[in-house]
């Protein structure tokens, strides 16, 4: 079945079973490897993308349910030569070890900061409670989100 999506500001048409989880369409059809397979159970957050600005778990979202809203993956946020301020904050704080979680972390943080421009550390911790990091980069990540908020306040 042909399904039309809007991903990272562009239209994309894919021909897949409508029940296919969005994650596999993003990765394997659109070659957007930012979102990662972590559990397939909406428990770890590695597959998080934004749908209409809200974080969703692409591993359990059928592609057919993703048609109506603009999808944003990490690739759509910024690029290596031109990183988004949040990505720059993660670079400045060196907030990645293996980095497998980081796409989900950054997109969750973006949606959070859009609604909470001046968060406390405690609020950041709670906002990120649903994304797992196994390498123990939590403190660098919290600092990066804080830095991104400060950058936004100055801008």
């Amino acid at each position: 079945m042909r399904i039309q999506l809007r991903v990272n500001g562009r239209a994309a048409t894919v021909d897949v079973d409508p029940s296919t989880p969005l994650l596999y369409v993003l990765r394997n059809d659109l070659r957007l490897d930012g979102p990662k397979f972590g559990c397939g159970l909406a428990q770890c957050g590695a597959c998080t993308v934004l749908s209409g600005g809200n974080p969703i778990r692409s591993c359990v979202t059928p592609v057919s349910a993703a048609r109506t809203k603009e999808i944003l993956t990490l690739e759509g946020l910024g690029t290596l030569p031109h990183p988004h301020p949040i990505q720059q904050a993660f670079i400045d704080e060196q907030a990645a070890q293996c980095g497998y979680c980081i796409s989900g972390v950054i997109l969750t943080a973006k949606a959070f900061l859009d609604k909470n421009p001046d968060p406390t550390d405690e609020q950041i911790r709670r906002a990120l409670a649903g994304v797992l990091c196994r390498c123990g980069t939590h403190l660098e990540i919290i600092r990066a989100v804080k830095r991104a908020a400060q950058h936004r306040a100055k801008a």
């Binding site: 690739e75 293996c98 497998y100 950054i106 409670a129």
Partner: protein
Amino acid sequence: MKPINRREFARKGRDALLIGFSLHRGIAPAIVWGQTAAPTAKPVIPEELDSWLSVGRDGKVTVYTGRIDMGTGVETAFGQLISDELDVPFESVKIVMGDTELTPDQGKSTASSNASLGAQPLRIAAAEARRILLKMAADRFSASVDELEVTDGIVRVRGVSSKRISYAELIGGRRFRARLDQKTEGGLRLKGPGELRLVGQSVPRVDVPAKVTASFPYVHNVRVPLMLHGRVIRPPKIGSSLAGFDESSVSGVAGLVKVVRKGNFLGVVAEREEQAIEAARLLKAEWTGGRTLPDYQDLHQAVRGAKLIKTDVVSNSGNVDSALASAAKILDATYTYPVQLHAMLGPSCAVADVRDGRATIWSGSQWIQGDRGNLAKMLGIPLESVRIIWVEASGSYGRLGCDDAAADAALLSQAAGRPVRVQWMRHDEHGWEPMSPAMTMDLRAGLDAQGHITAFDFQQWSQSHSRGESGNSVAWRLAGGNPDWERLSGGPYPPSYEFGNQRMSGHFVEELFRSIYLRAPGRIQGNFAIESFLDEVAAGQQADPVAFRRQYLKDAMALQVLDAAVEQARWQSRPSPGPNAGQPVVSGRGISFGEHGPEKRATIVADVQVDRTSGRVRVSKIVIAAACGRIINPRGLRHQVQGAVLQGISRTLFEAVKFDRSHVTSLDWRSYPVLTFPDVPDIETVLVDQRNVESQGAGELATVPVAAALGNAIFDATGVRLRQVPFMPERVKSALG
């Protein structure tokens, strides 16, 4: 500094083709990995300099290493070391890691040894290359080597501005054709601490920009032409036999290419990933027999009672038995540590192309040469026909399922005749990764009339940590014909304490689950037991835990990190438990000293709060002092240390693999919870730089003392001793009574 260029160059330089590059923002360049491009013919034997290092016509230096980066910043650290040793800019050094056709065999990337054993031959190669280049320049200018100086790859005759030549002009694009003696005794000298520029600097990691902009090439992103997707179906019990399967149960799955069976190995291959997942879910298979697991509640009795393979007496000084016999008082306690998982966030993944008697495998393997040999045997093809290309995987904290996924993909590809990508499902990872085995430890201390420890006895029961080594992959075990792995590891390690009469024995028992190293194997468990037990002995005498430890700790490095942590934490000298306010939530502090190998020491002071009503433990603050030789990258080291501490807290408070009589039941993140952001304490890290001690890896050290520091803090808060990890709320609540 444009760090990513180095890595991209390295990737492209081997065999990836960059295609489909879109100028549109938001669409990433897709890398297509192909095996057709032949690698640049180059030697890989350790005894030739060209195996390790080359200088391009543009002056770029490429270094080839069999060691790999597990997300800990090894690539950056290697770049710093090479840059210093060779006197070239950091940006001009490219590191090519882990490719059996390109990189010399450097064994396993394990045991926190990349910064020491892993880096050493690279530094030697760089130093030898520099020596040869200086000799060439000296000949060119009819000068002596002593008259030369090098900056950023440019050799100059001191004081003669016209006499200068670059490394690129001297050798660019050509081979050294020189033997490389791996020993440094024969005149070759590595630079000393006073001559290092980048070592000791917090150089930003080369991989981070790409990782946070979704342009980093993970093994999960490898795609090759004609690639199919595979998934595996594991037996319901360890040792079950596959009686048969019903192909009609998956006949309705679109895109299904093949159901593959080899012995008890069962998998499916499909055109698309979600189709393979669906087929694996639906396939009806009939299994018979299999091993019955012990009752989970009796795990530690089962470990103690399992068939003994071997006892290793790792330390035996004085006469423990007679010292115990003459002791005024004997204290004893049993400590247990559960089965735990690496639980990598990105499940194991590999792509294999096994066709026409050749195999190319892209894998996150930490031991490409070992995996190459094993896969060649498993597939029945010659070693020379197998190429393993390492591509970075999700973080690993010991060896885990990467080689297993490679074996799965290889069997499926061989059967399907096309390249196959396998990524484990979460339940595959949690249920079948090689685990950290359970341990039971008995401790006894004999005290004299003054309360001084005169005898110390430590007996540990554990299965080996090596049973999941290469050659023991799940796939090969199931398919049949795999060699059994006999190496026994993960026994106890004698601490630096000097008790006079001391005996430590490790009793290796038959396996319960397939097991392998998980961050500080043997040490993390032993440290929990020993450091908690010492706290018990100190508390029995109303002694301050720090002052008590000092009586037995003579090692200068140990005392240095103990003092550093105590000072940073503003430790108040008093016995435990502390003054208990009788509030529903009580606070306490605890200390633990830990070590990893002869050169690495750490001390942790932990502050905790215990909710008596719920049994919930909250770690409010950690102070850690750590020494691991000369610091290569302070920020990177701090990151490693903190990460290891946080993982240690997770393992201590939350993690235990549960099972029923058939199989593991901790199959997702709900049944195997780990630390989350709200659980994270503040951490103050004191790095003790030992400029004159060679650099040591830090991946494991900081995790060693965590469990005892938390247990001791809980005792300080509540007066209740926890002798079983993890300190889950229900267990704490029950202990508090």
